[in-house]
């Protein structure tokens, strides 16, 4: 917890000050600047406010592969985008980058698709020494 005193809310009436709405000299607040940027959407709107994925195993490098059949499933924009891009294996991190959402959101979206059977995930668990040697040789040959 913070040790600092709680700051007053700017909406509160200041101590020792008359409520400003009675004052005839009240300056009208300046009109808000027109917003030129694209509208800000809170990230977890996409997930209906959920922050925990249905599947806890999803790591940032977990590979996601979509079923071809899922392409014709009636899906919302984000899951549909995931299904399209994951016709090739793509990591959760790439999905986050493509959707321009934080990783936590990407995990929830992928978790939902997984639960619905639209995607499968490939998680590398303990690699064998032979596999690591193969990785080394493939990197060397790049």
């Amino acid at each position: 917890m913070s040790d600092q005193p709680r700051m007053p809310d700017p909406r509160m009436i200041q101590v020792n000050q008359a409520p400003s709405w009675f004052s005839p000299n009240t300056p009208t607040p300046p009109a808000p600047e027109p917003v030129a940027e694209e509208p800000f959407v809170r990230p977890f709107i996409v997930t209906g406010g959920r922050t925990l994925p249905l599947d806890e195993r999803l790591r940032i490098e977990t590979l996601v592969v979509a079923n071809g059949a899922a392409l014709s499933a009636p899906l919302q924009f984000e899951p549909a985008t995931v299904v399209r891009m994951c016709q090739q294996p793509r990591s959760v991190a790439e999905i986050g980058a493509a959707l321009r959402v934080p990783l936590g959101v990407a995990r929830v979206v992928v978790g939902d698709l997984l639960a619905a059977g639209h995607v499968t995930v490939h998680q590398t668990t303990d690699l064998s020494v032979a596999t690591i040697e193969r990785i080394r040789d493939l990197v060397r040959a790049l």
């Binding site: 913070s2 709680r6 790591r59 490098e61 690591i132 080394r136 990197v139």
Partner: protein
């Protein structure tokens, strides 16, 4: 499968990833988790942007079934809370060091010395910079003899390849000397 590239701010992590990645390094955002409360408490009045942090990453497709991701970790120690998520399951890690600002990598080094993830130290030589002997760098960092210290040029693909091979060799060595216990099944 992933390898984590860590080191102080501005040491060339993104450059290193870009030198070998088949895609332009991408940026994703990781949000702060509950674990971070108390570590990096933004406070009720702070700017909300401090609660997310950008991660750079690149991809190397080795063959149809093996894709290697390189993740650059934010070097500042106030992002330590994130490293657990990043490093969990990583094959190994590279700690990139700039000899001009050697102290920048201390928090990263401390972190990896406490973990089981195999790692190496790669000294990124910037052009025109005084070149220290690798043994001097090792001494300055106080890293164990068992941890390889290699020189590299983060802009050079061949050099970065050698760094990655070196870290994978270190993973193999760790595997052969101390076989890992059977991990919890997923």
């Amino acid at each position: 499968m992933k390898i984590v590239i860590s080191g102080g701010f501005g040491v060339g992590k993104t450059t290193l990833i870009g030198a070998i990645s088949e895609i332009e390094p991408l940026v994703t955002e990781a949000a702060m988790t509950e674990k971070s409360v108390g570590v990096d408490n933004p406070g009720a009045l702070s700017d909300k942007h401090t609660t997310t942090v950008a991660l750079d990453f690149g991809r190397i497709t080795l063959d149809s079934s093996l894709i290697l991701y390189l993740f650059g970790t934010p070097g500042q120690d106030r992002f330590v809370f994130l490293w657990d998520d990043l490093v969990e399951g990583a094959l190994g890690a590279v700690i990139l060091v700039d000899t001009g600002r050697i102290e920048d990598c201390y928090p990263v080094l401390d972190y990896f010395e406490r973990r089981d993830t195999p790692f190496i130290v790669a000294v990124n030589y910037f052009p025109g910079q005084e070149r220290f002997e690798l043994d001097e760098v090792r001494e300055a960092l106080g890293v164990d003899e068992a941890v390889p210290v290699v020189a590299c040029d983060a802009r050079d693909r061949e050099s970065v390849k050698e760094v990655l091979v070196a870290v994978i060799e270190q993973v193999l060595l760790a595997r052969l000397t101390a076989p890992p216990q059977v991990s919890a099944t997923h």
